[in-house]
Each structure stands twice: as C-alpha cells, then as structure tokens.
Symmetry: C2
Subunit: 282 residues, 2 copies
C-alpha cells in the first residue's frame, strides 16, 4: 500500500538518481505457460511496489519532480484474461495466462508484432492519511497505468507527508491506452530515475511532462469524474500560465487539448488531458 506504515528502505536528498528493482504485478507467480491463474496467484501478493523512498526535506504542499531516465525490462512478461477483470471481464468464461517473450525491437503476441512501450504502472507517494492499496490510483499517484510515465518524461506528484514516501512498481513492456483487459505485458524491471523537489509548479494531481506536452492525470470513481478532475486542473493551469480569463482558458482547452483514457479497469478510473506546449506562454 502507499502510505507511511512501511519504514523507508532508503533516505535520499533531492536531486539524487536511484536505480530501483521492481517486481512484476503478480510477484512472479506466473512464469510458465502452464501456470494456472486460479492455482498460482495469491492475491495478497498482487501489485507490489518498491519503496518507500524518503526524500529528505520534502513536506506537505511540495511537489515532487521525478525524471524517468531508463527502464530495463526483464526478458519475459505475462498478460492474463481472468473473470471479472477489465472492461469486458464479465465475458471471460475461463482464465487464460500468456507468457510473452520481450525482445529488443518488438513484442510478439497472438501472431502480431507490438511496439515496445516501457512504462511505469504504479508510481506515487503516501496520501495525507491512511494507506491506499497499490491497485488503486488517486491524487497521490498510485496505479494510474498511464502510458506516458515512460523514459525521457517527467512526472510531478503532490507531496502529502514529510519525506513523501515515494514508491514504484507494476512496469509494463507495452500496453494500449485504456488497458482494457486489465493487464499490459507485466514484467520485472530495473528503473533509473532522478527525484527532485519541483520549484516551478504546484499541482494537486499528478502531471506528466513530455517534450511537447503536459498531461494532467485525473483518477476518480467514474471515467466522467476522472475527465472532469483532469480538465479542471488543466484549465486552471492554462488560466495562470497564459494569464487569460478562466472562460477563455476553458475554450482554449476545448479547442486544443486531448482527453485520453489511461486505464478503465482499476478500482478508480484514470483519464488524462494533454495540453500541448505550443498553446502555452512558456
């Protein structure tokens, strides 16, 4: 769970680069094509995260700025279709486990060549109070399953407790936006990232920065509420950054920003809205 009940495994200073080993989302309980989901998987071991990392000097109200330098994937991953998992889980008659080799240039599944799109599924900090299960996303990050949390990009996370209690896990070798069956190509990985305190921005929800865009990430009980949450923060950002009236920022978002489904399958849903930097006075 994301929270402060686990003791930090490491204390670092802002600006330090870490190399973190992550377990796959099933804690390596599914490794052979003959492994049966129902027999092999102990649910208490699903969605582990590595951490927490205590970042010295961070306190509530701060924003964490994490640069994702590198993701080194394991040589195989696993994808499952199981009953009641995902958008169409009610249509799964019997569970299926697929072990998928991860090659350098591509990932083959069902005779199709899929692009390698390494990304971090679970990344977050401790919430203000209590613990959030790793399977659940929220304002603190967590299981957002958002494809742009990938090498070369920054993710900003609001800090709710002293030290932030940062953790990651659930790396995917590839997935589609939406993750409709509930899994990507789930695999072990080693992730290199730099964790800093952000001096430029102060957001209430996770935000991703790529070369050409900012993505505001909203998680809520329904997709409609997730879209609203992401849009609300994005419009306020346009208003502040471009110094334009709120109404104008709202219209500018409508004309220029793209709403994308991050995942439609977790206990809370996640949507993100992309603001192109070409529309920002920065």
């Amino acid at each position: 769970a994301m929270g402060t009940s686990s003791k930090p495994v490491i204390y670092i200073n802002p600006g330090e680069t870490l190399r973190i080993e992550t377990e796959d989302c099933f804690s390596h309980q599914l490794v052979k094509a003959t492994d049966s989901f129902d027999e092999c998987v102990d649910f208490s071991k699903v969605n582990p995260a590595s951490g927490p990392v205590f970042i010295n000097g961070t306190s509530p109200g701060d924003t964490l700025k994490v640069f994702i330098k590198k993701i080194e994937l394991d040589k195989q991953g696993v994808t499952v279709a199981i009953k009641d998992l995902g958008v169409l889980g009610y249509k799964v008659k019997s569970s299926q486990v697929e072990i998928i080799p991860i090659e350098n240039d591509a990932i083959m599944f069902a005779g199709q060549k899929l692009p390698r799109r390494p990304m971090i599924g679970v990344i977050g900090v401790a919430p203000a109070e209590g613990e959030v299960p790793n399977s659940t996303p929220g304002d603190h990050g967590g299981n957002m399953d958002t494809l742009d949390v990938s090498p070369g990009n920054y993710i900003y996370l609001p800090v709710f407790v002293n030290g932030a209690y940062f953790a990651i896990g659930d790396i995917h070798a590839t997935m589609g936006n939406g993750e409709v069956c509930g899994t990507g190509v789930e695999c072990r990985a080693e992730v290199e990232l730099t964790i800093d305190i952000c001096t430029e921005y102060n957001w209430k929800i996770p935000v991703i920065e790529t070369g050409d865009s900012f993505y505001f990430v909203g998680s809520a009980d329904t997709m409609d509420h997730a879209v609203e949450k992401a849009t609300n923060e994005a419009v306020m950002f346009l208003e502040r950054t471009n110094r334009i009236p709120w109404n104008t920022a709202y219209m500018l978002a409508s004309l220029s920003a793209d709403v994308i489904v991050s995942q439609a399958v977790n206990p809370l849903k996640t949507a993100r809205i992309r603001i192109p930097k070409s529309c920002l006075n920065i």
Copy 2:
C-alpha cells in the same frame, strides 16, 4: 432530428458523390463578437443537419460506407463558453462568445496558433424507431463529435431503415479530443463525400477507417459505458478477423488498442477505441 419524419431532400444511388452545404451548429445566430449568447440564440435552431439523403437500395442490416473527400470551411467560426455547457459548465459565471477567423494555415485563438483539423461533428442515419435529436449521439451516429471523421477517412454506419436517411452537420474547423467546453470552432462548410453500401463489414456501431487504423465509436449514458460498448465491438472484430479465441482478442486489444475520448459533453458520451491495422490479419 435523425429520423424518417423529414422527407428526403435527395435520392441517390450507392457510390454517388455528393456536395453538401452545412449550417454551423448555432444556425449562424452568432456572427459578431458583440452577439450575446443569451439574446441571440434560439435553441430550437441549434444543431441543424443537412438531409436526409435517401440511398436507394439500402435496407435494415446493411452498413453504409461513407468516404469523406473534402471539407471546405467558411472564413469564420464561433466558440462559446456558456453556463452548464461542457465538462466544467458549472464553473462558467457568465456566457462568452468568441468569433474566430479561420485562416488557411492556422486558427488563432487567445494568442495561440491552433492546427486546422476540419471534421464532421454530426453524421448519422435514422434510428430503427422514432427520432434522435441531432445533439445526441448513438449507434446510428449523430452528434459523435469525433475528430477522425475527417477528410481522407471512411465512416461506416449501420442502416436501420430503408434508404438509411443519412444526414450531416456541425462541422468544426478544429477541436481537441473530448471537446471539453462543449464546442469546437463551429462553422459553416461544404462537404464532399461518397456514400456507398459496404460489402466487407457489418458493424452494430459507427466505425471509422483511416490509413492505419479502425476506430470503434461507442456512445452511452456514461463514459464508462461508452468505453465498454466500443471495446466490445472492437474485440469481436479482432476475434473474427484474426481468427483467434475471444480471450486472446481481449488481451490483444489491451496490449495494442488506444481508448480516446471523442466528446465528454453531449447528452450521451462518446469514446472510441483504435485498433491499429498492424495488429490485424487483413
């Protein structure tokens, strides 16, 4: 409304190319910067569609195949922020009307240069029974506000009544996926398209074909249901086309297909899921 109560304005044979003039979504009631939304707009004139076009020889169970050849935009468009319209309509304190010049290379708004992305907001056929208001999307098409309904692409629509009763309107010069404030750059246009009967596919919901992808378009009362509807049809297509078990098709969709929000602001919500042709045995 989409339905059979209006007499067809033209009868054509499958394969014919039409050039259709469309009114903007406000029926040209907002043309000057000083036009007040509350004073100028008669709601009974909002979202007009041109048609219906009767396509000889079509009958229920057929699928229409429409190629969008060209969209010629008017020289100006309009965008509004009004109370209770869009994802954040509850935050609009007073209505605002923006007249936006449409240039050849770009569209300027709020000091930002937006790309020209002409698309058809309303495109559909008569439903099986009754009439659907033009403001509402559905399995028959209608107000899907889906950005890929644009020049160079095909849209497939299920046919519910003899002659299909095809109609279009609500052209946008540009918009973002999601159309979060409820409008794009709304403008008059002339649209050239070829309407045919599809011999290859038979879908229950609208589908768009681009050079590299198929987009399955789901509209429903909530975004979650819209995602489910689109995903369900897409997975069945992967199952049939690639001749793979349903479970495998479900996983393949999760690994390769992208869920995008078409619009989050109409009486029903619309999401689409993109299946790349590179994942199809076609």
